[in-house]
Amino acid sequence: MTTLAFLLLIVATIFGYFLNRIAARSIWNRGERLHSLTSYHGLFSALMVLVPVLTIMLFWLALEGRILDSLTMSGLPDGVLDGQGTGGLQLILAEIKSVSRGQIFGTPEDWKIAAADRYIALTRTSNMLMLIVVAVLSVAIIAFARSRVRVDFRARQGVERIVSGLMIFCSVVAIFTTLGIIFSLTFETYRFFEKVPVWDFLFGVNWEPQIPIRADQIAAEGAFGWLPVILGTIVITVVALVVAVPVGLFSAIYLNEFAPPKVRLVIKPVLELLAGVPTVVYGFFAILVVAPAIRSFGQSIGLDVAPNTALAAGGVMGIMLIPFISSFADDALSAVPQALRDGALGLGATRGEMMTTVLFPAALPGIVGGVLLAVSRAIGETMIVVMAAGLIARMTINPLESVTTVTVQIVTLLIGDTAFDNPKTLAAFALGMMLFLVTLIINIFALRIVRKYREAYD
């Protein structure tokens, strides 16, 4: 039924487009000078139908479930729901729904079967109603749009207004999603801090979150100091950047200024291919190839190297980040006007001097943008570190030891048994919140620095 409604809408849109277009065309054929091109008249009708009807359909589908649920529940015979908690009510509703789908386990009570029948009937009515609404609205809007087709009708402006409205909507969606994420993070973090003191979290140096979530479990006492975890993230991020920034920058500079065109044509796509490798592949590359290699090398020169090292995870993450930095830096360098290159070369600068004294400062904002993106990726990267870094939180900055990161801990906290009133689970939200704040602060600082040192060209 829903599919039918969508099909109907698509047909109405196309029909509206051609109806108005043909109408406008016939006016044009009479030798009149139309204000807007015929295709704008068509688009005007199509968009007038598509946008509002689609909006109504989406709202309908979003709200339908809730309304049907509450209608079904309120129609149950008196007394059967007495003494049920929220969980119990949801269980009953789920059972009614599965009965309505024909998935019957055991022998449901008669009132449940009756409720399931009513649920089916309600669903059918709702779908029918939606189909009718869509059909009536489409026809009405098409008729309205058709009546507007006139010589001096400004269909072009109309279309542009609708499209710009859509663009505003799209940009607002991103903002509201972000706000929603921040809000839910804040809310859960607040609940976490009701159970664990803020100071213990912010300044604690022990991270042992594996506390019991049911009374019969035996587990650790619990300690929620985030410092060793964020320290692990910092160590791995630094290792990754130490690998990625110089390699990425130098490859960008080479490709941009020194490489013969043929070499550039080969190397650039290959480099960008690195960005397409799934992180899980990097993860097993790190754990199966890089970590053993580092370990055996370390032992051969007499160092004590852990099997899971921050160096292996960070190093491989660095390789993953090279294409980010190099392609951003390459774009930024290419955007510097040829006139500036000519100016420097014309004064007798070598290509190297031109790069360091003119191109690099001018391209700095773009380059820093790439590095920032890489930092955010490194801090937020999960798969490689889950696989190749350890799980034990230690206060160490030695990259040869096993460390754990914020993202790894979030994963382990949310895997397996979870209970959303337990500090163990809520700690994941607190960590997420801190991660968000750290990246935000880094971004703000970096933007400040760039604004201070950039050399703007125009």
Partner: protein, 265 residues
């Protein structure tokens, strides 16, 4: 006028700063400059005129080997400055470009302060021994560039904040700061308004005392105003070269005459 022409001719014989013999330039398949030979005198303004795409800018860029920076460009023939072949293996194009300054069509100050713009060349060539030395070089260059009075109070403001005409004079001053012997100008006034153009032309006339100036221009009036010698290029050929006065009043080649009277170009 006749006397003057005689002097100029003497100059040409005795004092050719730049000589080019049988120069050809190819961009891939395109033959941009065909067998050009020319003697450019010292302490004179020489202008290259001709319709768009005639190769005058390309030829100008041969004189400081800026064409080396374009991958597909090939230059053959012999170009000497002070008798020394600039395309010889022993010549460092970087050193050459310090000796042969260049000013471009669009003002291209670096996105740095006015001071750093001027100091750029002296710094990369190590011309200043101390901070005060550098200050002097910068002031001298800005004075020679006829822009000192306008910028002396804001030497550390960005060069990109100046007006178009000021930017171009800044670029000329920047080129002068490395103490070149030859100054090449590729349509230096085409992006400027008439007042700024007049200022830059006046400056070019002054620079003639110390440098050999070669200017590419689209404006025949400008060529007539600022230069003593004029070369007319057409489709990659050097059609005619001689005293400006003669080129504009009594050209010997019919193509030159057509261009000057506006029939081609």
């Amino acid at each position: 006028m006749n006397d003057m022409r005689k002097v100029e001719r003497d100059l040409k014989v005795n004092d050719a700063k730049i000589t080019a013999r049988n120069v050809d330039v190819r961009y891939g398949e395109t033959h941009a400059i065909k067998d050009v030979s020319i003697d450019i005198p010292d302490r004179t303004v020489t202008s290259f005129i001709g319709p768009s795409g005639c190769g005058k800018s390309t030829f100008l860029r041969c004189l400081n080997r800026m064409n080396d920076t374009i991958d597909i460009c090939r230059v053959t023939g012999k170009i000497t400055i002070d008798g020394k072949d600039i395309n010889e293996r022993s010549v460092d194009p970087v050193q050459l470009r310090a000796q042969v300054g260049m000013v471009f069509q669009k003002p291209n100050p670096f996105p740095k302060s006015i001071y750093d713009n001027i100091a750029y060349g002296p710094r990369i060539h190590g011309l200043a021994r101390s901070k005060t030395d550098m200050d002097e070089i910068v002031e001298r260059a800005l004075r020679r560039g006829a822009i000192w009075n306008e910028v002396k109070d804001r030497l550390h403001a960005p060069g990109t904040g100046l007006s178009g005409g000021q930017q171009q004079r800044l670029c000329i001053a920047r080129a002068i700061a490395t103490e070149p012997e030859v100054l090449l100008m590729d349509e230096p006034c085409s992006a400027l308004d008439p007042i700024a153009t007049a200022q830059v032309e006046e400056l070019i006339d002054e620079l003639r005392q110390d440098y050999s100036v070669v200017i590419v221009t689209h404006s025949m009036q400008q060529a007539a105003r600022v230069s003593q010698k004029t070369a007319f290029f057409h489709l990659g050929d050097l059609v005619e070269f001689g005293e400006t006065e003669k080129i504009f009043t009594n050209p010997s080649d019919p193509r030159t005459e057509s261009y000057i009277t506006g029939r081609i170009g």
